[in-house]
């Protein structure tokens, strides 16, 4: 059923009276500064709001309701404990600018989180402040620039980015005023070292790498790459979106990376919330440490405090109004404490097991792996190029039809260089029988594609809406409701 808009439940004068102070006063704001017409906020009862948004929620797929193998997104179980204990009243009611003395419990968590993240990444220092992966990337590249500037190498403004990179990588380079130098991947999925060698030069600021890459394979010659870039005077940036694949197994610091960001909302299982919030903590090697973004938690004589510009005068500065997405950090902290030291490598191990198992089963079922010679990391790519060509059923069609089978679709059409790709990341928290059911569904869809392609192309059928008209959405812009 189509759900009305909340505004369509609205009636003039209807109101949830328990929810705001009653006052007969009027404002003393001078007339020329005053609002004259009420904003169009809904006027509904509390029940209407509760019912409306409860019903809306049911129209979502989510980890809590569906297998959600969205590649590059690490949709693993978000333990409920993380939410419950991050939301204790004392934590929620504390003002960010209240004295550190009133937040020693909270700061202890943040400090320990910094320490744990250093350990799992092998970096020298960590700042928790970036509010998502992309802001972590921004902080990282800004630090790389600040590092070069501190050495009077202001001209180093070229960032090397593989063609398989996530869009945030080149976009970040631009935001930092850098130029992007793209290098290709080889058919094996590894980076073309020769191209890299040719790409570096006196203007090289560094390289942005994801390892395992977004192609779902581990970059085997990472040490050689590090040497090439370092020899050219550049730094290595690690995009930590795929950290889940190697947690506790290899550390970016040991691979030679100078700067990394982590997606705590992936690897450390904080919820994605239908788009966010995330947390993109950054880690750096010793030489980049002076440039870390503020604030950072310091510890002195068993007291914790936020470090400021005075402590870190070379910092690239502040990236948020306060301390970043603290509540997300709390959730990540709780999760990491529950995993413990033994739990970290286990994450990578079972993520890899699930991915490689799913890959093996799909290959047995006749699907084409994009990198058939390679081990999967925590994710892998199936290409439906053949199906698209022979049956005129493409990756999008498979994706939409999967929804009817009760599975969220894998990531489609990313990375861009693999045609008709499905990037599949099961994560370690899914059970074998659910992976098997997913394989069965894909086999069934393949069968449908062969016998009744129109059925697949018309999917989905069982969701609140059929396939949506994206072209109309972009052409006849309807971005706010006008009644």
């Amino acid at each position: 059923m189509t759900e009305k808009l909340i505004f369509q439940h609205s009636r003039n004068g209807r109101t949830a009276l328990a929810q705001y102070p009653v006052t007969s006063a009027t404002t003393d704001v001078p007339e020329q500064l005053r609002r004259t017409k009420r904003p169009m906020l809904p006027e509904v009862s509390e029940l209407q709001a509760v019912r409306h948004y409860t019903r809306l929620s049911q129209k979502n797929f989510s980890i809590d309701t569906h297998f959600y193998p969205l590649g590059s997104c690490t949709m693993k179980y978000n333990p409920r404990a993380c939410n419950q204990y991050a939301m204790l009243p004392q934590f929620l009611n504390r003002h960010p600018l209240a004295p550190d003395a009133t937040g020693q419990g909270y700061l202890a968590c943040m400090y320990e989180l910094q320490e744990m993240l250093k350990d799992v990444t092998g970096m020298h220092s960590v700042s928790l402040t970036p509010m998502a992966g992309a802001q972590g990337e921004f902080a990282g590249v800004a630090m790389i620039r600040a590092y070069h500037q501190s050495r009077n190498e202001n001209h180093r403004d070229e960032l090397i980015v593989p063609d398989a990179a996530h869009g945030t990588n080149p976009a970040t380079a631009t935001m930092c005023g850098c130029k992007v130098v793209e290098i290709p991947s080889l058919p094996s999925g590894d980076i073309d070292l020769e191209a890299l060698q040719n790409a570096v030069g006196p203007n090289t600021a560094g390289i942005m790498l994801t390892n395992p890459s977004t192609l779902g394979v581990f970059e085997r010659r990472i040490k050689q790459m590090a040497k090439i870039v370092h020899d050219a005077g550049g730094l290595l940036y690690y995009d930590g979106a795929n950290l889940n694949a190697i947690l506790g197994k290899v550390r970016p610091g040991d691979m030679g990376f100078d700067v990394i960001h982590m997606n705590l909302h992936k690897t450390f299982s904080t919820p994605h919330g239908g788009g966010g919030p995330g947390a993109g903590a950054v880690g750096v090697s010793r030489r980049v440490a002076p440039f870390l973004p503020l604030p950072i938690v310091g510890k002195q004589d068993d007291q914790y405090r936020w470090l400021t510009e005075k402590d870190l005068p070379q910092s690239i500065g502040r990236l948020s109004g306060f301390m970043g997405n603290t509540g997300v950090l709390m959730r990540a902290y709780i999760y990491m404490r529950m995993l413990g030291k033994q739990g970290m490598p286990r994450v990578a191990e079972y993520a890899a097991l699930n991915a490689n198992y799913l890959l093996a089963r799909l290959r047995q079922a006749g699907f084409d792996a994009a990198y058939p010679e390679r081990r999967a990391s925590h994710e892998f790519i199936i290409t439906l190029k053949r199906q698209a060509r022979e049956l005129n059923v493409n990756a999008m069609d498979f994706a939409k039809r999967l929804l009817d089978f009760g599975f969220h679709a894998p990531t489609t059409y990313f990375p861009l260089l693999v045609p008709e790709c499905l990037l599949i990341e099961p994560t370690e928290t899914e059970a074998k029988e659910d992976l098997d059911a997913f394989v069965d569904a894909l086999i069934e869809i393949q069968r449908e594609a062969e016998t009744d392609a129109a059925k697949v192309k018309g999917a989905p059928y069982t969701l609140p809406v059929r396939r949506l008209d994206d072209v109309r959405a972009a052409k006849q812009l309807d971005l706010v409701w006008r009644g």
């Binding site: 705001y20 239908g274 972009a474």
Partner: protein, 456 residues
Amino acid sequence: MPFIPHTEDDVSEMLATIGVASIESLFEEIPAELRAQPLTQVPNAMTEMQIGQLMQRRAEQDGSYLNFIGAGAYQHHIPAAVWAIVTRGEFYSAYTPYQAEASQGTLQLLYEYQTMMASLTGMEVSNASLYDGASALSEACLMAVRANRKSQSAKFLLPYTVNPTYGKVAKAIAGNQNLQFESVSFDAKQGITLVDALTPYQHEDITALVIQQPNFFGQLEDVDALTDWAHAKGAMVIAVVNPTSLAILKPPGEWGSDGKGADIVVGDGQPLGVPLASGGPYFGFITTRMEYVRQMPGRIIGRTVDMEGRQGFTLTLQAREQHIRRGKATSNICTNQGLLVTAATIYMSIVGAHGLENVAITCQQRTTELINALTAIDGVKLAFNGPRFHEAVITLNRNIHDVLDALLKHGIVGGYDISSYYPQLGNALLVCATEVRSSEDIAAYAKALAEILSGA
């Protein structure tokens, strides 16, 4: 194993299917010399019970204080229904709504949110969120460079009455693209930016003037005059606003004597149902006019129809975004603050237009009450005259740091020390009282402060 469902049988069957002998073999492509040693800084695993007890202790260690700080984050009543719904798994554990058909809940909510924010700010379009208010200002400046075709300078006027942290963040983020920010001084009596202070820039190419309303001191700027000044010279106006205040203040979309309004509006959405939580997660909002929509950063939801003509919602105008446009995108933002927007949308629905007006009026009253109570004390002065919303600067005849420390012992977080930002103001303290502070709370504060200042 916590959070891992595999039985021993599962593992052996799966390994057999893969055709390897052990899980370790799956990592064989990783050069051996790179393999990690056991972790040393991560403690042993805790059960949920143990971590729960630890967090409970840490929460108690933090304690509960009567809070009188605002300065960009405001303590408001949040209806219990808000977070009960926000934390439903279907909202909480969903990803970005890339598969529109499987995300209609989130998408419709975001469309409703866009509508509410556009209306609240008096603008035509809104995105689906940015990280927070401070970073939203940076994005607005970057957007203005793209949107203001008349200006080549990438130079911004940033009055001292704008939250100083917002300025710092703008410099940290937008500075990398060589945007320049010029400070503008304020009137010492009223604590607002006068048009006079802008005249030095009369003949310069200015991309945009930033106006915060209410400003960092809680005072109300003469937004019409400032807007007129900017528009007259081809500069854009970027408004930084508190969404609660917009229930009673003229929306930026109507600023200026011609009512044409600001060009870009940003702010922090925290006051709309998001708890203080030591600083986050909050969310940034940005609204603008339709003509600039393609310059706006972040996700946008559009309403459309499905194959059967039924209403549906989907991400749109994605060609602005990094996953399509890569190095040429309007911003690098990807993950945003969706869950907080969920909270804000439900908050605005429950509180409603009338409720938000009452909240705003009550906040204003409470702050007036607070100012009256505090300035009645010897040694306490009000820094500025003129209309204000729910914050004010007071000055003390004693070192602020010591006074705040002494107040803590009374269980009171007494305000935000702004003396280092504004040395010219002396011992200046920014105080705030919202609707959650009762008259008794205010009296308790006044009593404690009087005691401390009288040296008792």
